[in-house]
Every structure is written in C-alpha cells, then in structure tokens.
Amino acid sequence: MSAPTLHSTFNVMRRELTGYFATPVAYVFLVIFLVMTGIFTFYLGNFYERGIADLDPFFRFHPWLYLFLVPAISMRLWAEEWRSGTIELLFTLPLTTVDAVLGKFLAAWLFIGIALLLTFPMWITVNYLGSADNGVIMAGYLGSWLMAGGFLAIGSCMSATTRNQVVAFILSVVVCFLFLLSGLPMVMNLFQSWAPQIILDGIAGLSFFKHFADISKGVIDLRDLVYFVLVIGFWLLANVLILNMKKAD
C-alpha cells in the first residue's frame, strides 16, 4: 500500500462530485435532507415551543437522519463500480487503491457538507429569534459533519463488499445502527450485569451518540475529534483491504 498522491485523489474526487450533480442523486438527496431536517426540528424537536435560541432540536435528530440517508449515498460508491465494470478501468489507471478510496470518500463527505451548509436558514432563523451562541452552533455543525464522515466510511466499506447496491445499503444501515446504539441503555443493559467496567466503557465509548453529543454541546474535546478521525480511518483502511483482497481473489 503506497501513500496517496494528491493529484490522483483529487482527480477521483472531482469526478465523483461532478457525477453526483450529473444525476438526480444529488438533488433528490439535498431536497429530502432539507425537508427531513425541517420536519424533525420543528415537529419532533419542538423548536418554537422550547423558547430557547439554540439548534439543539435541529442537531438532535441528525444521527437518525444519517442512519438512512448516508448509506443511501454510500451504497453506490463501490457497488456501482463492480456492477458496471468501471472498477477494472479505475484500477488499471496509474493510481493506488488508497487514492481511489480517499477520493470517493472525500467527494461524498464534501457533498454531505454541502447539504449541511444548505441548512443555513435554520441558523439565520435562530439568530433572528434570539441571541444564539454561535460558537455552540458551529461546534454542532462540525460534530454533525464528523459523524456523517463516520457513517460514510462504514457505508463505503460495506459498498466495497458487494456489487448489489441494496445489499450495500442494508449492511451499512445495520453496522451504522450498531455503532449508534452502542452507548444507549438498551445495549448497555445487555452487558451491565456481567461485563467488567472497562469493557462497558469501551462499548459506550464507541457510540457515535456520545461523541456527537459532547461536541454539539460546544465542547470540542480533542478526544472526540480523534475518535471520529479514528473511526473514519479504520473503516477506510478496511475498505482498502477489502478491495485489495478482491483483486487477489
């Protein structure tokens, strides 16, 4: 495995990103993402009724939204390449598997970043209604984007295992779900009675929820950042290994 070359990674990223906007995928995703965040914030989050000028009702539902929307983006990343045979073209170009994996991941991550940025009316609204703590809101956006990266890395890896996008989607949702839930009582109760504290902490520490909640409170702790970087790194590494294994198979 060799180091990624900036030129090749960037080239793959640019191709992917243009690809999103050449098909309805981008527009359908953006509209659904914006509508869903709106519904969650105002109906389930009781944005107005709370009477607090923050975006907590907005961010609170992001993990659940990503659980389904991010795999919808990531499912085609590699499955489509396998199905259409373009993977053979891609991997006989003078670029490394790392270049391709990073390029695709970054394109999808940037795309979700664009979707997040387009929720700016929410930020304007909350600033119009009261004096919001914009530092906390910025932290929320950062945390949300990092969490999306984690979901995306899992989805990208799952997508590399199959040529079927539906299979890739379901696998991604299941694995992402496990990562989300690992900190919740319903999972923790299973272990509480018998597992030692260190394992409990380990399982709880894996949860997207906890780290996202920490960051979106406005406390940008290095440990939370490192956590997401590690999660992304781990799954992308697995992604590279799976692709290389398939070449040798």
Binding site: H7, R15, G19, A22, G85, E88, L89, P94
Partner: protein
C-alpha cells in the same frame, strides 16, 4: 516488452489460467484467440494488474505489475471487456478524467483529448453523456481512453465487439497504424480479425496455451493446405476418376463442392486442370486452398480441451 512467467489463476477448484508463459516484443500485434471462457480476459486482467495471479508474474517493461502496479500501468493503455465507462459523464469529461489520471500535463490535456476524439471519430458525440450513446460509440470511447496517453503497450479486450463492418474496418486500420513500435495485444473470437490485424496468434482454450504462431503459420497447419476445391456437374463420377491420379490422396464431397487433397508436395492443381481439359468437364468454380483458419482453430481447441 511484456513478459509472462508461468501465470496461473485459480478460483477455488476452478483453474481459469494455467501456467501461461510468453513474451511480446515491440512491433508485435498479438491476438489471443479462443472460445468464450478460455481465459483470455483473465490473462489480460493479470497483465494489466487488475487481478493478482495465484502464482507466476507478469513483467511490463521489466516491472512486476502486481508489485508495482502504478509504475507498470503507466506504460499500458487498456480496454477492459465490455468497454466500461462512467455513463453519466460526457465523452469529453470522461476522456479528461482518464487523461488526468494518466498524468498528462495540464497544458497538453485538451489537445490529447481532442486527438483521441478525432482518431476514433467521436466528434459528433463529444458532448453527449456516454450512457446515451450506441454500443459502437461506447466501444470507441473505450478505445479512445486506452490510447489517450499514447502508451507503448496497448491491451484491448475484444476491441471490435459490437461494431458494424465499417467501424470494424476503421478500428482495425487504426490498430495497424499504431502498431509500428508498439506492443498491441488484442483478444477476439473472430477468426478473420486475427488474419486482418495480427502478426502473431496465441490460441488459448481451457486456460492453456495451445498454439503460438503467425496467422500464416496457423493457416498452413490446415489439412486443406494446398488442396483443390471445385464446383462441378456430376461430382461423384469426377471424384472417382480423379482419385485414380497419383497426385490425389483423397477426394471429399461436401455441400456440393468437391475437395481433393494432395498426395505430393506439388503438382495437384496442374494435374487437375489437365484432367478437366482432357475430359472437357463443366467446372463452375475452381480454387487452390491456402488453408482454413476456422478448421485449424476447431481442431486445436478440441484436441486441447479434451486432453
């Protein structure tokens, strides 16, 4: 130079390619000829580094492609089976992407794209999404991306599949024109293509190399070599008369045509024309056979796969 050393590829219990060794030098246009599922594509995938061989190695200008894929693949232009491409991109966008990936200078890139488009007659569809194009155009887009960086080695998996006769002719002309100081490897199951384009043929079946020869040499292996075939009235009576000649080894009647096989190295054609004028037979067609490639191909692949 391409050098394959004991290439093997196994999928579980199935052996797709077995102990394949060969070298290809500059100036050669090598045709992989074989029935479907013979291992042609698998071999090409190992030569281009898409598949890692189970054992053995492929060297591209001395570089092991499965160890140093990036370096080795810079020398290669490759058209994968089925000419895959990113359908949502236009021809220009796609070729620009491949050109960038092929590390063509930013300044030279537009000219390279333009040149590839010209060479494969893609001007009319240059700004259309590839998925809206016909099969023939898609194949030419695949060829354009393979030659865009003017590689020294071209590996083309069924380059003329899905093209109409005119387009086939054009592509073959293009391949021959590029061949001078290059290495070109094509795979095909079309026999006439081998005769039209290649100066070397490898017949592969069941993952094994069964023959490695020039097209001319292969044709010469035909049992029809130097035989004489004619269309004649009363063929059965003629056959029995001609069988008596010392130059004739055997007479065969098939599809209303009479074929006479030579017993000696030469003299068959003259003996027959003499006999025709002597008996004043009514001959509607008469030809000396160079050999039949399809018959050689069938014989070799049948022997090879049954053994």
């Amino acid at each position: 130079m391409i050098e394959a050393r004991s290439l093997c590829k196994r999928y579980g219990a199935i052996t797709a390619v077995e102990d394949l060794s060969f070298t290809v030098e500059a100036g050669q246009i090598l045709g992989f000829l074989g029935p479907n599922g013979a291992g042609k594509s698998t071999t090409m995938r190992m030569l281009t580094g898409f598949l890692t061989p189970t054992s053995g190695e492929a060297l591209i200008n001395g570089i092991d492609i499965s160890r140093n894929t990036v370096e080795a693949s810079k020398h290669i232009g490759y058209l994968p089976e089925g000419a895959p491409s990113y359908g949502e991109m236009t021809v220009v966008q796609f070729l620009t992407f491949v050109g960038r990936a092929r590390l063509i200078n930013k300044a030279d890139l537009p000219a390279s794209v333009e040149k590839a488009i010209q060479k494969l007659n893609l001007v009319a569809v240059a700004h259309q999404p590839i998925e809206t194009l016909s099969k023939g155009f898609k194949r030419r887009v695949g060829l354009a991306q393979a030659i865009i960086h003017e590689p020294q080695i071209l590996i083309l998996d069924e380059p003329t599949d899905g093209l109409d006769p005119n387009q086939k002719h054009e592509v073959r002309k293009l391949i021959r024109a590029m061949a001078k100081d290059k290495i070109i490897v094509i795979s095909t199951h079309i026999l006439e293509e081998v005769e039209a384009v290649c100066n070397r043929v490898m017949i592969i079946a069941g993952g094994k190399l069964l023959a490695d020869d020039t097209p001319h040499g292969l044709v010469a292996r035909s049992r029809y070599r130097n035989s004489v075939t004619m269309k004649i009235a009363g063929a059965e009576r003629v056959a029995s008369i001609l069988s008596e000649l010392p130059q004739v080894a055997k007479a065969e009647l098939r599809d209303g045509e009479l074929t006479l096989f030579p017993a000696l190295d030469h003299g068959l054609f003259e003996a027959i024309t003499d006999a025709i004028s002597e008996h004043d037979w009514d001959v509607s067609a008469l030809r000396l056979e160079a050999g039949r490639l399809d018959e050689v191909f069938r014989t070799i692949t049948r022997q090879g796969t049954s053994s």
